[in-house]
Amino acid sequence: MKSERLARATLTIGFLLISLPLFAHHGATEYDMTKIVTLSATVKELQFVNPHTLVTFTVKDDSGKTSEWQGELPSPNLLSRRGWSRSTLKPGDQVTIIGAPAKNGEKGMQVKKLVFPDGHELPGTVLPPDSSK
């Protein structure tokens, strides 16, 4: 398990983050790219299905109130080649989710990156660089 995580972490280091829209169907216009939100998330569900991946999670604010967020991600095909699998995020998992929030104030985001409690990261809406081959 540990070696798998290490492998994933090593894989991540090789990636440059690119902000290309990765699916023609869903551009980035819904998101406020002038903002970054960093959320301590408790995963509720990962829907790892083509053509789009959707993660649902809860976030506790400073007053202890819990709210539900959703984040969009590229397709499972693209994510699986970047170290993801359908069990990357399981219900109850704690993870830091970084992304661009919806412009309209809804609790939705385009996920750019995940940071796990042990420090390893996984890229979200990104494109592997030529140098990652």
Binding site: S19, H26, T38, P51, H52, L54, P74, T96, N104
Partner: protein
């Protein structure tokens, strides 16, 4: 006249390989010599831009395409995603899971497998699982072809370059994700070659006198992925109710974005940092990052070949040492401070579609 270096390089390489290798069959029908090998799974290079960079025949960059009045009329009716149109309001035919046509298919960040069998080269695109057959057996285009989404393609080898000639397209697809139209008169010539073993270059030249007053050129670069295979991709799969999510985040809202940022960390990154930046094209250069008390950060690259000064604002260190910042031009910095506070690693994400990686430490 400014010629993008990649185009001039390509032209030089094309000159080197432009000798035809046509063999004659006993019947006198020219049979193309099978001299090149483009087989493999290829992934779009990170230097490709989502929107194509179009040039004229001389390689001069075109800011606006030379549309005919017919083309202008069509273009007005196309509403690509971006600007005022979202996935919900755009009329991009891609949204309906229909084939994107060529060259639009090259805009999508999915791999393509090229297979060469007797008399054919086959492009098997992961995106939508669309298949394109390129007949290399010397045949002519289908006469009076009923127009199709992916067109009628014939190919001949010129040395190790496969020259693909395509006609017979319907006019239901867009040339690119910017919504540029084309007519059924679209005639496409693609020169596909390995610039080196791991690099596939596709030089695209098209003419469409109904839509454009002159020819257009663009180029795509692909990287060989020897261990990959084409995976299943079903565009029509609606198990994830993505439309509902899209309606939620895409609806015109009156609320202001709730920036639920984590409470800050006590770790300070103020001061000077030195290290390297690895550009999207793989070059590694010395760079410096300087953070001020007022949450600003200046990233400079100390190399004469690259002019880069990025002024980040709202630089914040969140719990777990996650460092974020933004420039006024929407360049993102997503970094991480090591537990001992001595190292910052992270990613610089440009809105143009290129990104870089940095690694910094206190001098």
């Amino acid at each position: 006249m400014r010629i993008p270096p990649i185009v001039s390089l390509a032209s030089a390489a094309l000159l080197l390989f432009s000798f035809p290798l046509l063999a004659q069959t006993p019947t006198g029908i020219p049979k193309t010599a099978h001299t090149g090998d483009l087989t493999g799974v290829w992934y779009p290079s990170s230097v490709n831009t989502f929107n194509f960079i179009w040039t004229d025949a001389q390689g001069q960059h075109l800011n606006t395409l030379p549309l005919t009045p017919w083309g202008q009329e069509k273009f007005k009716g196309n509403h690509p995603i971006g600007g005022e149109y979202t996935a919900l309001t755009s009329n991009d035919p891609n949204s309906e899971c229909l084939p994107p046509g060529v060259p639009n298919i090259y805009a999508h960040a999915y791999p393509v497998e090229i297979l060469q069998v007797q008399g054919r080269a086959i492009m098997f695109f992961e995106y939508g699982h669309f298949v394109r057959q390129i007949f290399t057996d010397g045949r002519e285009h289908v006469k009076d072809a009923n127009p199709t989404w992916m067109g009628d393609s014939t190919g001949k080898w010129e040395g190790d370059t496969l020259v693909v000639d395509s006609t017979g397209f319907n006019d239901k697809t867009w040339l690119d994700v910017a919504g540029h139209p084309h007519s059924e008169a679209l005639h496409l010539v693609e020169r596909m070659r390995r610039a080196d073993h791991d690099t596939l270059m596709i030089d695209i030249t098209l003419e469409d006198p109904q839509a454009y007053t002159s020819i257009l050129k663009t180029q795509r670069k692909y990287i060989l992925k020897p261990t990959w295979n084409i995976m299943e991709y079903i565009c029509e799969d609606t198990r994830v109710k993505f439309d509902e999510f899209e309606k939620k985040v895409g609806a015109k809202g009156t609320k202001t974005a709730e920036a639920t940022v984590e409470s800050g960390s006590s770790q300070s990154i103020v001061g000077d940092w030195k290290g390297t930046i690895t550009l999207a094209d793989g070059r590694s250069l010395p760079a410096a990052f300087s953070f001020s008390e007022s949450s600003n950060g200046l990233l400079t690259v100390a190399d004469p070949s690259v002019s880069m000064n990025l002024q980040f604002r709202n630089v914040a260190v969140a719990a777990g040492g996650i460092v974020t910042g933004l420039t006024s031009d929407q360049v993102n910095f997503l970094g991480k401070l090591s537990a001992d506070g001595k190292q910052i690693t992270g990613d610089i994400i440009l809105p143009s579609g290129t990104g870089h990686k940095i690694s910094m430490s206190r001098p």
